[in-house]
């Protein structure tokens, strides 16, 4: 299978929009000759050229992404690392150097380790590809910087935590497109065989017209990092970032986006409105910041299809992380562990994906990214990454406010949840009261747009 054909299979929605019409060489050549930008991914990297990588955000996920980038075919080298915290950078350095003791793949000198809020500005210029894996609140400014610098990008989901951030990413995505930059977003289900094969069958009409969808992210929740007395409020929130909206966006965004994105993918569109409910039942301590532990949202698409989305972080309750599509002729159930089941409405089997020997989709993301850079094809996931981010924010708006929220109003709001300034002594968007508790979003009271 040729690379082009492979990409068309991988990104059927993109090919429908004509991104890959004609040969990749023609597309690249024709566009390049008309563009004023000096960046030309197509011309710069032959099979023998070393692609230099910078890691921005050295937590567990960033470290994993860096190792995956360095595990791709051809010469590739991590040359710079950036993080807000020196200790996080050092832990990551240890992990990557254990995995890649040879300097041909991992060669980050002391002068190329950058720490602090502006570390990304120093690391990005040193690389050809940047990995953006900080907490999601920073993604828009990091993405914008990387695009302006003409870099290829791997960025983790979600890509923003509020609508102004989403708009910034969408604007930069347009520039990236014009510059022929590759942008892969870490919604790895889009790169997972179980999804590609099962969704192909949905698109082929196996379950008829889709009448509703359900998606679930139910599990116990994630880590808590306790406050230390020497920390400023800004440092505490940065360390315990999962529990603050400007950094994380709530778990409906940070994790459930995977499932929400799958529904958008299959629907080949985005909801026009949402309403729902949510709250904090078990995650109610001072260590739990301001986010909810459960959301239930009813998204409505332009054709009237209802998508019911549930997410919950409550230990001891039913675990389920899945997407379900119900159609006029059958139903399909998918999950990240490789399930892909299509049946007729009576349960008769139409397709059952066997995932035992499928490749690791987290690795596949990077394999495709680096292969595209070397071949001159262009992958740009930024638009769907931004709009699925916006979909989850729309859901959060609905549960926090208790109102029906329209997509256009939510996307166009001027309301930002980000700090005005990034510094360790700068004020945070939300602050604890005298007892250490944070203001919790309250339906009927909280303003979201």
């Amino acid at each position: 299978m040729s690379e082009e054909k492979d990409l068309n299979t991988t990104f059927p929605h993109l090919s429908r929009r004509g991104f890959f019409k004609g040969s990749a060489a023609l597309l690249g050549g024709a566009l390049m000759s008309q563009l004023p930008f000096e960046t030309n991914a197509y011309a710069r990297y032959g099979a023998d050229d070393t692609i230099k990588v910078a890691l921005i955000g050295c937590g567990g996920r960033g470290t994993g992404a860096a190792i995956q980038a360095l595990s791709t075919q051809g010469k590739v080298k991590l040359v710079a690392m950036a993080d807000a915290f020196r200790d996080r950078l050092d832990e990551s350095f240890t992990a990557i150097s254990t995995k890649f003791p040879d300097k041909s793949r991992f060669d980050v000198s002391e002068k190329n380790k950058f720490v602090g809020f502006d570390a990304y500005k120093k690391a990005i210029p040193l690389a050809d590809v940047v990995i953006l894996a900080t907490p999601p609140g920073f993604r828009p400014i990091h993405f914008e910087e990387a695009v302006n610098a003409g870099k290829h990008i791997f960025m983790e989901k979600p890509v923003a935590t509020d609508a102004p951030g989403v708009r910034k990413v969408l604007a930069a995505a347009e520039i990236a497109k014009k510059k022929n930059l590759n942008v892969v977003v870490g919604l790895q289900r889009r790169y997972q065989n179980a999804y590609l094969e099962t969704i192909k069958r949905i698109n082929d009409g196996s379950i008829g017209d889709i009448t509703s969808a359900q998606a679930y992210w139910h599990n116990a929740g994630v880590w808590v990092r306790p406050r230390k007395p020497e920390q400023t409020e800004m440092e505490y929130q940065m360390r315990n970032w999962y529990y603050f909206n400007w950094l994380c966006g709530d778990h409906i965004l940070e994790q459930h986006i995977h499932n929400i994105d799958v529904v958008n993918w299959v629907k080949d569109g985005y909801p026009v409105s949402a309403q729902g409910m949510g709250g904090r039942q078990v995650r109610n301590g001072k260590d739990h910041g301001e986010i909810y532990d459960h959301h239930y949202v009813e998204f409505t698409y332009a054709d009237g299809t209802i998508f019911n989305s549930q997410c919950r972080h409550q230990p001891g309750t039913m675990n389920r992380v899945e997407e379900v599509f119900v159609g006029t002729k059958g139903r399909a159930t998918l999950s990240g562990d490789g399930k892909g089941i299509v049946t007729d409405l009576k349960g008769g089997s139409i397709y059952n994906h066997r995932s035992k020997n499928d490749p690791d989709p987290y690795q596949t993301e990077h394999d495709k990214l680096f292969a595209a850079i070397r071949s001159g094809n262009v992958i740009n996931n930024a638009e769907y990454g931004a709009k699925s981010t916006m979909t989850a924010i729309l859901g959060r708006n609905a549960t926090y406010s208790g109102q029906v929220i329209k997509w256009d109003d939510a996307l166009n709001t001027q309301l930002s949840i980000m700090p005005e300034k990034f510094a360790w002594d700068a004020p945070t968007p939300t602050k604890p009261d005298a007892n250490g508790n944070y203001p919790i979003p309250t339906p009927g009271v909280t303003r979201v747009i």
């Binding site: 937590g59 567990g60 996920r61 470290t63 994993g64 992404a65 190792i67 990551s92 992990a95 990557i96 254990t98 995995k99 790895q188 139910h218 599990n219 116990a220 929740g221 994630v222 880590w223 078990v282 230990p315 001891g316 039913m318 675990n319 389920r320 992380v321 899945e322 999950s335 990240g336 562990d337 490789g338 399930k339 059952n352 035992k356 690791d360 989709p361 987290y362 690795q363």
Partner: protein, 346 residues
Amino acid sequence: MNLHKVITSGAVTVFFLVAAGFTNKQSPANSTIPSFQEDKFEAYRETIPGTKITFELVPVKGGEFMMGSPATEAKRKPDEGPQHKIKIEPFWMGKYEVTWDEFEIFVYKEIEKQSMNASSMAATGPSDAVSRPSPPYLDMTFGMGKSGFPAINMTQFGALTYCKWLTAKTGHFYRLPTEAEWEYACRAGSTTAYSFGDDPAGLEEYGWNFNNSNAGTKKVGSKKPNAWGLYDMHGNVAEWTLDQYDPNFYAQFAKTTATNPWLKPTKLYAHSLRGGSWDDDPDALRSAARQFSKPVWKQRDPQIPKSQWWFTDASFVGFRVVRPVKQPSAEEIAKYWSEPIKDYGS
């Protein structure tokens, strides 16, 4: 946290030592544990203290057996030989694979708290003597069922740490079976490929495998037990043993009769599992068939270091506990618990 640290850690220590019957290095027979009489080597039901959750133990008498498979056995693999004589000392073994009902009390402190009644909470509190798993990144049931279903996807370290926690809770020394103990118990005196004979067709009655499981774990004990009363030794989930996997381990025993052989793990990969699973073909469920852990079983753990507690791609892995009749001293017990090895990906 190792035992030494536990012993120096104040209030928790008291609970640990008293409950575990370790004071003055008394043997359990002389200890103050009221719930159990050492001299009765028979089946019993253990309650996880302070909860309503119980599990059953079956006595496995000591004896000798031929470990591994004869060269004539169909579908045999080279790591099952040479067949050699082994001596095993008596132990109790879990009648069933450990279920989520039991395992989740260990995984989630909140569940332990909620399942304990007020008086037992006052007496002991939730047990903090042993570290607990990080909350799993994925849904670790993989939608295959929870209550009554085998717990799955834990690492060997996670399974062994459950045993450590259970030991601290109950005062009885529980651990994983060695490969030799496991095979001895599985065979239950048989010398055939499966404990019920040589024909894999018997798995319809005795074991969940790829041909009859419909792609998932099944409630423990829903097929027939072997001759010694142990359920799901063939299939359902592949079960952790206490050993490092070494395909050549048996060679050294060819001319001796070793007692309780155990290859203590020192490396992250590979560790031995036995019994085969719902996801395996019948030949992997044979009594002598060996399996071993692989880095690919964590391929969808996106974080580095990868979890020391969980796999992400091993929904066919579980375990059961054993308890040796001769309870070792605290110092001897401490040697069984392992320290986690960091996993930077493979």
